[in-house]
Symmetry: C2
Subunit: 234 residues, 2 copies
Amino acid sequence: MTERAVSAEEFDDPVDSEGAPRASDGRVPGRRGRATRQRLLECTREMLASHSYRDLRVVDIARQAGTSPATFYQYFPDVNTAIVALAEEMAEQGNDLVVQLVGRSWSGATGVQTAEAIARGYVQLWEQNWPLMRVLDLTSAEGEHRFRAIRVRLLNQFTEALAEVIRGEQEAGRQTAELDPMATAGVLVSMLAHVASHLYGFEHYGIRTADLERSMAHVLYTTVTGQKPPKSKD
Amino acid sequence: MTERAVSAEEFDDPVDSEGAPRASDGRVPGRRGRATRQRLLECTREMLASHSYRDLRVVDIARQAGTSPATFYQYFPDVNTAIVALAEEMAEQGNDLVVQLVGRSWSGATGVQTAEAIARGYVQLWEQNWPLMRVLDLTSAEGEHRFRAIRVRLLNQFTEALAEVIRGEQEAGRQTAELDPMATAGVLVSMLAHVASHLYGFEHYGIRTADLERSMAHVLYTTVTGQKPPKSKD
DNA sequence: GGCGAAATCTGACGGGTCGTCACATCGTAG
DNA sequence: CTACGATGTGACGACCCGTCAGATTTCGCC
């Protein structure tokens, strides 16, 4: 294979400390420029929701924003860089939510509620951001290091928080010490991530989202605490 | 966005009942033709192992096979169709293996061994076929219906077999009847699929494959049987 | 052994996308 | 109102894809 252009994949979006982006030629854009950049970002988000990621063309985003392809390249070295900007914003907000849920109590009936909240929370996070989440999953499986970094950050903080809980349960003697906490947490987060990203496929096969959430909550609770869940109220 | 060429994505590889493929013009190839086709397939497999799927170019496969791009198009309408042929072969063989494992006994210490065998088996299946598995995961998440069909077939038979076991455990009163068997099985298979496809990522973070297998086996056994595993020998 | 016809292979081309660059336009400070 | 920096764009070269007419190889048959 002839070497392909490495393109800008290896470089990060040039953004200064305040988040003000620089244009391709290194100059700092003014009001008009930033407005155009923002408009391009929003159009990218829209296109991502209505078109397949693979079919996303610069010319379409530019046209949607009422400008020319060359203008797009003035603000982003490529389409991925624009998406990274969007994904970073989403990851920021979404991560807090789920990690926070892990911190709740894991004992008894409250613990079951925690597990349910996590399962539902993760599913909702995915449903609310599926265009970006999908791209994140997709490109992370390939080589794109920036997307992978975001995804890893998103999942890793979650995994570590969960591992900490598992470690606590092990020390309290409620959970078997034979399991590696990080490995176990990784397995659980994998479950959440994969199920969330394939909800539509499951629905297609007649498997209801509510049932999936219940099963995931069950697995979560059981695996984290090492206990059978106390019988629920419903 | 202007409509993109639908290309041959919607059409299946023309293959007659005996598996003998037809060339692009509909004629049945002779010895030389079939040899060339096979050579192209093997080269596709090699390229897939050493190059990213996205960077796979027809011209490279052809060159590797010591022929011209036009020859490739004589036997396959596009690169994906060639990969589908490879993936189908793999799925055939791999599916039997894992589904067969599910049929083993799930009671007591033997059950733990069954769970471990499944976890290890799935991981090995992935490790042995990662170039194809990766493409399957990748393109299924997008729209390619042929890849998705193969992946669904692979996972669905597995899921249904597992659901059947869970249903049995429920009827025997060992597992809570609150959970939908298919949903639960789907969750478990998701776990296996996602962990297997991210083994390298986990290793990168210092999480050992052996620990992942143990954790997955634990989750599998616990969730399927509803019992704590009997204490192991090691 | 030679000769057509069928099978197989290939060079070259039209069509399309990508990213860049020189230049046009805008808008604002003086 | 003018000049200059900031912003926007048409058009171009490079690249990849899939096709097609024609060249080359193989094979059955005399």
